[in-house]
Symmetry: C2
Subunit: 360 residues, 2 copies
């Protein structure tokens, strides 16, 4: 199962851009389209690593910004890398830290060389450059690292997006250089920016893919814009991306968003939605999203979803889950998270099967 | 495994009062001496019921006061009882609510008939009487219910303890009457009070055991008094309790306290210590208690306790647990709780084996 990085398309849908693929990484093979649970601080919140294995996840995401601040990438390197640190032998993708620097950190100052920012935790000053972002991800030892990009918020002026897109390209060139100087097992993905402007997306796509990296991502979406805007960007960008490389849509999304993007040819997804919603007592069911704190569930002895085969639905009732949330028992967060990730795992398995059967 | 309530002493230590016993309940057989994890609000904090099963616990404790307030004993009864509500098919002991009324509730007014108090959650007014406490525990459907007692704080004047002890007896008589009026599968245990006064303990013991109930508890300990005072009360009271009935020491304690009490002939224990300490980053090891937030663990790649066979110690390192606590990840609480309860489960198994081999 261990291998150097490689991607192959196994099947192409005859009726959409959807494709069924396989990613080979140093930590196992990943069937695509794939959803990657978010393990920001070296933990997919509330779940143990054996539960993620039980759910069948082959790859999870770690956040470079958070891990750099705590416990520190150098400490993780001394402890044998992120896989060893968190005892997760399957694949890991790390983001570049760019998105968090631009959304979480305080007092950031951006220049052509990089970004100086203050930690959202203790206000201490730090600096990320493309080279530093690669170095940190090298210390973390992820299977897939992401190029350091500038991700403008939404809405942003065309000029601001244009500047960020240009800078993202120059930074990607520097990331590639830093990455290729010390060849290793880690793959580097480039990030396409361009906001909601199709001509900028096209320019960014041409620039970034000219670097001939192992994979490419659509970044700068899911930053506050309406669903329709995300979908237009995806529909415009994804089909134009190289067919022989994995396509990763960052930070998306709802089951409907994922289904849409798969049909545009996207292979990889990550999103905090299923785990974050769970901590806000919202769970996915085959009949739609429900809120477990709703009083209508207080005497319902049936599971969240009678069609769900996850162990939470096999064992616990809506009434019990409602009670746990109402009284603030920590078990509630775990049970809802597990169920939501089971829902997402099943969604992706169904999508893969539908592509194989030509139905998507 | 299902049976009506029965207790048998399997072996008596030749060198101490320690005894090895077996409790038969409608929800399974329990090997004694036994430790019962505390599931205050129908959840042993952070753990799932399958984890408690995995740890081998045959009985857990539920708190009548909390369950009466939320979700309500009548709701639990409509949902099939506490076992069904929380999907726990093994045995449950419920306390009487007395201890919480006297320690948690606000503005309590006590009279000979019962106690009026305000909820610590919303300030609403409620009243417990001996009959009501039995009725609530009947609704919960626990295997063992406790008689409603008055539990004075420590320190308390001899007069206050004497009054509370007398009242506890009168209330126990009423609990027994209410309990025997509707015979069922649930056992009722009486509680011996008397504070740190040996003559009051003796009087209470004679009064309560004269009721010929299925089991007896030593109450009014672990309410703030020094360890030595607890041990003196246990050493005085336990050996004088009927030998053919289970002896339960309420709210105790540390591994050392349990070991001491077993040698005085106690069979059953409950305590929030292992679960509460875990949430405050303290874990038990074969070399003593350690604090996982201590900086000395930040780069230690070995388990909490190399001699521990629990899955937390099999998988995770001190460095990772330290990190999870430091950044506030919810997984930390679960992993520490699981480990501490594994420690207690192993402690009790070792104690039982030592009694069998005549070494305790």
């Amino acid at each position: 199962m261990k291998s150097t990085f490689r991607f192959e398309v196994l099947a192409q849908s005859p009726i959409s851009h959807a494709r069924r693929g396989r990613l080979y990484t140093p930590h196992g093979v990943i069937e695509t389209p794939v959803f990657m649970p978010v393990g920001t601080q070296a933990s997919v919140k509330t779940l143990s690593q054996d539960e993620l294995e039980q759910l069948g996840f082959q790859i999870i995401l770690g956040n470079t910004y958070h891990l750099y601040l705590r416990p520190g990438d150098e400490r993780i390197a001394r402890l044998g890398g992120l896989h060893r640190f968190m005892r997760w032998e399957r694949a890991i993708l790390t983001d570049s830290g760019g998105f968090q620097v631009f959304s979480l950190a305080a007092l950031r100052q951006i220049d052509d060389d990089g970004v100086t920012f203050r930690s959202h935790i203790d206000g201490s000053e730090h600096r990320f450059t493309p080279e530093r972002a690669v170095q940190i991800q090298r210390n973390l030892g992820s299977d897939i690292m992401m190029a350091f990009d500038e991700c403008p918020p939404y809405p942003a002026s065309r000029e601001a997006v244009e500047r960020a897109t240009e800078r993202t390209y120059r930074w990607a060139v520097r990331c590639q250089r830093a990455w290729s100087e010390q060849p290793g097992q880690q793959a580097l993905f480039g990030i396409i920016q361009g906001g909601v402007y199709e001509d900028l997306r096209l320019t960014s796509l041409q620039q970034i893919t000219s670097l001939n990296l192992p994979g490419y991502a659509i970044g700068g979406v899911s930053v506050g814009e309406p669903t329709e805007a995300i979908r237009q960007v995806v529909a415009f960008t994804a089909p134009r991306m190289p067919t022989d490389k994995p396509r990763y849509l960052m930070g998306v999304g709802t089951p409907e968003d994922i289904l849409h993007a798969v049909q545009q040819g996207v292979d990889m997804f990550d999103c905090v939605l299923p785990t974050r919603l769970a901590r806000h007592h919202a769970v996915f069911t085959s009949a739609g999203r429900i809120n477990l704190r709703n009083a209508q569930y207080q005497e319902r002895d049936e599971p969240i979803d009678p069609t769900c085969d996850c162990w939470v639905c096999q064992r616990y009732s809506l009434a019990y889950l409602h009670h746990l949330f109402r009284v603030g028992e920590l078990l509630a967060f775990r049970l809802a998270t597990y169920h939501n990730l089971a829902f997402y795992a099943r969604l992706m398995a169904r999508i893969r099967a539908q592509i194989e059967s030509g139905a998507l």
